[in-house]
Subunit: 234 residues, 2 copies
């Protein structure tokens, strides 16, 4: 039986966390990196579980860590933990296979975006519910962006300035109609493409909604400093 | 007489801060926004003045605020304050005109990158000194980037995924051989182009050096939170 959060919810959230980065214990980066004493994954799941539309959460963990991740999340929220694959895309597909067929909306989230507020999760889900087959939260690109190539002396040289007005920085969760994500993964060939990219390749429209500064990806030491500061602001 | 910091230095640093954003008093954003009780401009100038290669600093302020900005910086560092123009590019040209002809390297900095460490200023200057006519500090782009266009219902829709591996996010200071920056500005036509972009258009190579997380642009409220946290880390 799949653990449920809100039986009336129409959203499943997948959290692929099976990469080499997921290791319990010290030195284990990414999803289990500690923020204010708790793993990023715990922070992320807590906020997903606080989103009223979410019926079910599926985490893909490394095969050897499924029990440990289940224990870690036991007191956080009702969560299904499945064994993930070698590639992120395979983990998403394996997590998707655990979603009941009658859940119409599926979101794919990144545990490293641990402070993503429930409001953003609701906003992505609402846009799918309104009829968009695929939805991504985006932010404007604020810095000047250059395209670069190899320079003469081992340095990088600028090939050109990119028009940042048409660029958007993509966050998660990315949201999909259940059937659209399933079809995209069934025909996926490029393991490096993000989920929305698979839908793009399938020729379906991907719609943008405004992202959130709080949904920053926490990867570098500086991001942890910012995330701690944001937690203390609350 | 131009105030000098280090008479043996070979670098002038220009800080255009004459935009509509520069207003003294409450509500005045950008260069005079307060960080830990001091304007961003003060934080920025203090770090520029701590760079051993810097001989002279020129700030372009709004014409009506030249005296006030001079007073503000009087106790921070020896700085030349000139009246800027309506456009950022004009302010850079006016600040450049105040640089003694025998200073071979000119850097253009952004006061909003108030925590830029002296080490980055030295690194950009060193690359110009080593023979590169134009140098920019860059960081890799960490988020997935999409190109967007107008969607059907007033929303934005994705046109494609951009290969972020060849993209770099540009910081300041941007560094130039004095004559190269002067020539680029003499022939400048597009007021929206950054200084390195003017040099690109002139057909000269622009070389990248590694940027710094500390050189973040402090514009959004979230950036101020991060900047405060970084200051307290010291």
């Amino acid at each position: 039986v799949t653990p449920q959060l809100n039986a009336r919810g129409d959203v499943a959230v997948l959290v692929p966390a099976a990469g080499a980065g997921l290791r319990l214990g010290p030195g284990g980066p990414k999803a289990l990196r500690l923020l204010a004493g708790e793993p990023l994954l715990v922070h992320a799941i807590r906020r997903v579980a606080a989103s009223p539309s979410v019926r079910t959460i599926v985490v893909a963990a490394p095969a050897a860590e499924v029990e440990a991740v289940r224990d870690l999340l036991a007191t956080v929220a009702p969560v299904t933990v499945v064994a993930g694959g070698a590639e992120r895309q395979e983990s998403v597909a394996l997590a998707l296979a655990a979603v009941p067929a009658d859940v119409p909306i599926v979101l794919v989230h990144d545990a490293a975006r641990a402070l993503t507020p429930p409001e953003l999760i609701e906003s992505v889900a609402a846009a799918v519910r309104a009829g968009h087959p695929a939805v991504i939260p985006v932010l404007p690109v604020v810095d000047t962006i250059k395209e670069v190539g190899p320079g003469g002396d081992g340095s990088e040289t600028v090939l050109g300035t990119v028009d940042r007005a048409v660029l958007r920085s993509v966050q998660t969760p990315q949201g999909f109609r259940h059937d659209v994500l399933a079809a995209a993964h069934a025909s996926a060939s490029d393991p490096l493409t993000d989920d929305a990219g698979l839908v793009e390749k399938a020729g379906l429209p991907v719609t943008c909604v405004p992202g959130s500064d709080l949904a920053l990806k926490i990867t570098r030491p500086l991001d942890l400093v910012l995330a701690e500061a944001l937690l203390h602001l609350r």
